[in-house]
């Protein structure tokens, strides 16, 4: 059962808290972080002063009270809408994080004191480097690393994956996550992150306004938007002496309306919401980004290193064929293969049983009586069975069997067969009986369904896929071809991965990779986007800039798409916002001057009814386009894997041309309604 990943767009509780936050955020100190909206805030204050003055004075310069009040209220709404956009994004991010965190709070912890005694305390008082004990049925209070013991752990609370996982000290799978439950055995765990420092806590900080670091990209865009604001400020301020000189009086209200409509308030109001929503989407995919920059970088990736097992293939190899060698027969081979695999629990062993004809099972039961099974071990690299009658059967890699099967007369035939299997992407498993080779079993990797299409999409986005595998080059080449990856690293060692990343980076590419073990950490640190599996070692998680709670290697692809979507959303809302100015310009400028320069009326292409209604309509549009775009900002622009130029054309058409037409129509419609009053 998976954790409910997606929040509804507008949860009632979130909306209420976001509404409250929108007012809190009016604090000028907070607003200053966003120059565009800050200038709207100043304009609102000025408008309020003018409204007040117009109430008590009949000076024509101030204009009518009602009109001023309407504009002042609209500007205030613009501010609130922008704040609301940010607040709702923050609220959603926090809700996502909170649902992940809920499980880990207020769990009792069994702390192990230095003298070995155990005291039960609240997990909140556990410190970094403390040791605690977790036994079957316990909930692990904090993230840590097993220093002693092995346990099976139910991580479904965090990952949604119901199958228990094995975690063991001293291996690459030594990390445990707070909130997960120990199913069996007893482990001693060392706390690796102090309370409040765990990834989730970091994540919540990232989402919250106060601590949110702007990404380089966001800073550059903020600068650009600020510069637009300055230009339009100068334009509107200098318009005053110009109009006075030309004897065309313009009210301050009109100038402020012009200013607020021209500055890019739409993107200014949605910018931070878009960034937070990006991180929230990553969190929704059970990936914890350590910074907003990491998500952005993910959208930029040129090269992805993907582990073969689990990403490209389903991780289980399947026996597909028996090849006998020498004077043995096919029947013999399949019979003894079956015998040796009947109690082999590995997926390979099971698939051999499946392949061997089921009719031969009958003879096997009696043969197996009193048989002794030899487990696979790292030293011998073989497994097998010793039968009661003294027959010994072994299967394993050819290099291992070759040493054992000393009675084999002709090894060249086996050599040939093994190479042939390897070339076709299979893995040879040699079976020998009584030190004599019987034949070779062909094991094949099963490519995940749909993965090829996924790689095609990546290729269209301009991302190069590289398969990393421990297989020999022949096998790797075959699988690479079948799965449709662009390149592969065969017989990969951690150093190979690091070198490959460095080489690509030297060519100016951004590289992403996923890893779990300690020896992956240099490569994870070097990669521009390193995603560590949560089950991995602490070192790997520290080195990476994202942690995947699901331990799912394909997550990398999802992360890239989330990053791209974030960048595209931001770019397109910017475009939309800037292009909007054209329509607003055609609404307001004729309204400002048409009384004194009738020729400018030809610019009133939308045929708005009166100068006042034109300005009010433009300001209304300007305010309400922000909440109208909140769903887009939160959900992100629909992402299509296309080439860069096709994507640019498409987005220019939708958001560029759309940005030209939509406000024109909307302002016209608002004007029709406004002019009724």
């Amino acid at each position: 059962m998976k954790r409910n990943r997606t929040l509804r767009l507008f949860e009632r509780a979130l909306i209420l808290s976001a509404l409250k936050e929108s007012f809190v955020k009016l604090n000028p100190k907070v607003m200053m972080r966003n120059p565009v909206m800050f200038s709207v805030e100043i304009s609102t204050v000025i408008m309020m002063v003018i409204t007040a003055m117009s109430m008590f004075s009949n000076n024509i310069e101030y204009g009518s009270f009602n009109y001023n009040l309407i504009i002042a209220v609209l500007l205030f709404l613009t501010l609130l809408f922008a704040n609301f956009a940010e607040a709702i994004a923050e609220a959603r991010g926090k809700a996502q994080a909170a649902s992940l965190r809920k499980t880990r709070e207020d769990t009792p912890a069994k702390r192990m004191e230095s003298n070995g005694t155990i005291t039960i305390i609240n997990s909140a008082s556990l410190l970094k480097d403390d040791l605690f004990i977790a036994e079957a049925g316990d909930t692990i209070p904090l993230d840590g690393e097993i220093i002693d013991g092995i346990a099976s752990i139910d991580e479904s609370a965090i990952t949604g994956e119901s199958a228990p996982v094995i975690r063991e000290a001293g291996t690459d799978q030594s990390g445990v996550i707070g909130g997960t439950r120990v199913l069996s055995d007893r482990i001693i765990v060392k706390v690796t992150t102090a309370q409040g420092e765990s990834f989730l806590d970091k994540m919540i900080q990232l989402v919250e306004g106060a601590n949110r670091q702007k990404t380089p990209n966001e800073i550059a865009l903020t600068l650009l938007l600020a510069s637009f604001t300055i230009v339009f400020l100068v334009v509107t301020v200098t318009l005053k002496p110009f109009s006075t000189f030309a004897n065309t009086p313009v009210t301050i209200t009109a100038l402020i309306s012009l200013f607020v409509c021209l500055i890019p308030t739409t993107i200014g109001g949605l910018l931070s919401a878009i960034g937070i929503a990006g991180m929230e989407r990553a969190l929704g995919a059970n990936v914890i980004p350590k910074s907003g920059k990491a998500v952005e970088n993910a959208g930029d990736i040129d090269v992805v290193l993907l582990a073969k097992t689990g990403t490209i293939t389903i991780g289980k190899r399947k026996a597909t064929n028996f090849f006998q060698v020498g004077d043995s027969t096919y029947e013999n081979l399949s019979k003894f293969s079956l015998l040796s695999s009947l109690s082999d629990p590995t997926p390979e062993g099971k698939s051999i049983v499946e392949l061997a004809d089921s009719s031969k099972r009958m003879l096997s039961t009696e043969l197996l009586e009193g048989a002794k099974f030899i487990q696979f071990s790292a030293e011998t690299k073989m497994s097998g069975v010793d039968l009661k009658d003294g027959t010994t059967i072994r299967k394993g890699a050819w290099s291992a069997i070759q040493k054992w099967a000393t009675k084999t007369s002709d090894t060249s035939e086996v050599d040939l067969k093994c190479r042939e299997i390897g070339e076709n992407g299979g893995t040879p498993l040699v079976v020998a009986m009584d030190k004599k080779v019987l034949g070779v079993i062909q094991l094949e990797d099963i490519i995940k369904p749909g993965i090829k299409e996924r790689f095609d999409r990546l290729r269209k986005m301009g991302v190069k896929t590289v398969m990393v595998t421990g297989d020999n080059p022949l096998t790797a080449a075959f699988i690479a071809k079948q799965a449709g990856v662009d390149d592969f690293i065969a017989e990969a060692t951690p150093v190979d991965k690091l070198e490959y990343i460095l080489k690509e980076q030297n060519d100016g590419k951004l590289v992403a990779m996923m890893g779990d073990g300690t020896n992956d950490s240099p490569a994870l640190a070097q990669a521009d986007v390193g995603v560590a599996m949560n089950s991995g070692t602490q070192a790997a998680k520290e080195a990476a800039n994202m942690v995947d709670l699901d331990n799912d290697p394909t997550k990398l692809l999802e992360v890239i798409e989330i990053g791209k979507q974030l960048l595209i959303t931001r770019g397109n809302v910017t475009t939309f916002s800037l292009v909007n100015d054209v329509a607003k310009y055609f609404a307001i400028v004729p309204a400002l001057f048409s009384t004194s320069i009738p020729a400018l009326n030809s610019l009133n292409i939308m045929q708005l009814s009166s100068p006042n209604s034109a300005i009010i309509s433009a300001v209304i549009f300007n305010a309400f386009i922000i909440p109208a775009l909140i769903p887009l900002a939160l959900k992100g622009v629909k992402y299509k894997p296309l080439g860069a130029s096709a994507l640019l054309t498409r987005n220019l058409l939708i958001y560029g041309l759309g940005g030209l037409i939509v406000p024109a129509i909307a302002i016209k419609l608002i004007d029709m309604v406004v002019s009724l009053f």
């Binding site: 990209n217 550059a220 865009l221 650009l224 230009v231 100068v234 200098t238 100016g508 960048l567 397109n572």
Partner: protein, 539 residues
């Protein structure tokens, strides 16, 4: 009618055919590859030796910017001294022209050192021959060379990888002068001479006309100055009426030659960009974007000029030739409009008709042209301006397709955007603040006699003046009484700011880009400069 159109086709053809190979040549000159003008080397070595310059010593962007500013400061002081002492020294001064007053001299020195050539004086009565040569002619060469050299430094920055050095300013400066400007100026001067432009140091000729009045005809080294005036996008005429004067631009042929000279180097530099960074397709793309806008403006200006003045039409007078007010009969409205667009696009500023008298919308086009200031643009600086627009466009374009923005494989980050927008902002701010200030003063004191027209046209005169100064264009909406302290000082300052900040900014960006690693280049990541059109629409 057809004469005009034939002239335009001729001009465009020659520019197009000549600019491409010239661009290649200029790129080779910058790179120091062998070219046919290598015989100039001993001469150049002499200059380096004389000034104690090591032309092979590479500097970072700050060093180069300092070199450029230092050299320009020396030119400025030199020009100022010559102008205020021209009467006293009496050098080459057969017409006995008096010394300039300091405000006008400040304005004039600023004007010529910044390649603007805004003239608040009339050449034939305001300058001695010595000033014409030592100030006008000299600065027309070196200010153009400064601009081209700044562009050359940017190019170095774009191709460099992980190095803060941008080459040597003096090297590209001297070579732009000796190998690009000098040979071309020589060629154009000869052509103009053959076509009838005078070139001498004689005193003004006098004759008594039929009515018995004495007419003084000013002479001087006209052909020499006119050639570099056009080639270096300078625009400062020998005579007050500039290329509308019958000696500076005697006939149809000289008009075609001069108009070609206006466009030639600015267009060639676009191609030089492509050759230098080895990305010719990009150069062609830039050229076509610029040209589309250029043609658009040309068509607009010609259309409005050919329609004639609607107020005259109302009186029943036929205007089959279009609006002729302020135009020379030998050029007519079409060639005048084409010239107007050419000179305002390229930051040249020479005129062959009075822009003040053109129809309002044609005048508006000229102003828009100068506000963009990057359709080909001034020699060197036009491409620097366009480069900033490209950066901003590439930034937004990159965001739209979900890539971190880059240009030519170099990441565009906050630092570059900051500099780019500051420089882009400067232009509208200078124009608007200047015009607002003068509008305000006019409102407070309408009797100061600055304007020959009031209301909107008067406003246009002021706006045009500041636009022209800030764009370093130098043409004027005449009718503005601009030789007084206010206009001399304000436009002088605007010219200096409008020149050096848009040079230093891109150099700083070039320095920052040069030190970056080159990232993988994405094929087409460039969009038409819709943004800056939108940006300037408001001005």
């Amino acid at each position: 009618m057809y004469n005009g159109l034939i002239g335009i086709v001729l001009i465009l053809l020659v520019v197009l055919i000549a600019a491409y190979p010239l661009g290649n040549y200029i790129s080779r000159v910058f790179k120091g590859e062998p070219v046919f003008t290598d015989f100039m080397r001993p001469f150049e070595e002499k200059i380096y030796q004389l000034c104690g310059i090591d032309s092979r010593h590479e500097m970072d962007w700050k060093g180069n910017a300092k070199a450029l500013l230092r050299l320009n400061a020396i030119f400025f002081v030199w020009a100022f001294i010559v102008l205020v002492t021209q009467g006293a020294t009496g050098l080459l001064n057969p017409a006995n022209i008096v010394s300039m007053d300091p405000f006008l001299a400040f304005n004039t020195a600023a004007s010529f050192v910044t390649n603007t050539n805004l003239q608040h004086y009339s050449g034939e009565t305001g300058l001695s021959y010595f000033s014409q040569i030592a100030v006008v002619l000299f600065l027309q060469f070196v200010s153009a060379a400064s601009g081209i050299s700044a562009f050359a430094l940017l190019l170095v920055g774009l191709v460099k990888r992980q190095s803060a050095l941008l080459g040597n300013f003096y090297y590209s400066f001297v070579r732009s002068a000796t190998r690009v400007l000098l040979p071309l100026a020589l060629l154009v001067s000869l052509l103009l001479l053959l076509a009838g432009t005078p070139n001498n140091f004689s005193e003004p000729a006098c004759y008594v006309n039929l009515e018995g009045d004495t007419t003084v005809v000013a002479m001087g080294p006209v052909a020499t100055i006119t050639s570099i005036k056009q080639l270096g996008t300078n625009g400062g005429g020998f005579y007050g009426p500039n290329s509308a004067h019958p000696f500076e631009n005697p006939n149809y042929i000289t008009n075609v030659i001069e108009n070609i000279s206006i466009l030639l180097i600015p267009v060639a530099l676009v191609f030089a960009f492509g050759f230098y960074i080895n990305h010719r397709k990009l150069a062609v793309l830039i050229f076509s974007v610029m040209s589309i806008l250029f043609i658009f403006f040309v068509v607009g200006a010609i259309y409005f000029e050919s329609l004639g003045n609607p107020l005259i039409t109302k009186t029943g007078v036929m205007q089959t030739n279009g609006s002729m007010e302020g135009k020379e009969v030998r050029f007519g409205p079409i060639l005048s409009a084409f010239w107007g667009v050419s000179t305002t696009s390229t930051s040249n500023g020479s005129v062959n008709s009075m822009h003040d008298s053109q129809t309002p919308l044609a005048g508006g086009i000229y102003m828009l042209d100068m506000m963009i200031n990057a359709i080909y643009g001034g020699v060197g600086v036009g491409m620097l301006n366009f480069f900033l627009f490209i950066l901003v466009s590439a930034f937004i374009g990159g965001l739209m397709v979900g890539r971190t923005p880059e240009f030519l494989g170099k990441k565009i980050e906050a630092k570059e955007i900051k500099i780019a927008v500051l420089v882009i902002l400067l232009h509208p701010i200078l124009i608007l603040v200047g015009s607002a200030l003068s509008s305000h003063l006019m409102t407070v004191n309408p009797e100061n006699g600055w304007l020959s027209n009031d209301s909107y046209h008067g406003f246009s005169q002021m706006l045009y003046e500041f636009t022209s100064a800030s764009a370093n264009n130098g043409s004027g909406f005449e009718g503005l009484a601009d030789n007084n302290a206010f206009w001399n000082i304000t436009t002088g300052l605007v010219m200096l700011l409008g020149r050096y900040i848009p040079i230093i900014g891109p150099l700083a960006i070039a320095g920052s880009l040069a030190s970056k690693t080159q990232f993988q280049v994405l094929k087409v990541l460039w969009m038409p400069p819709v943004w800056h059109l939108v940006l300037f629409f408001w001005v």
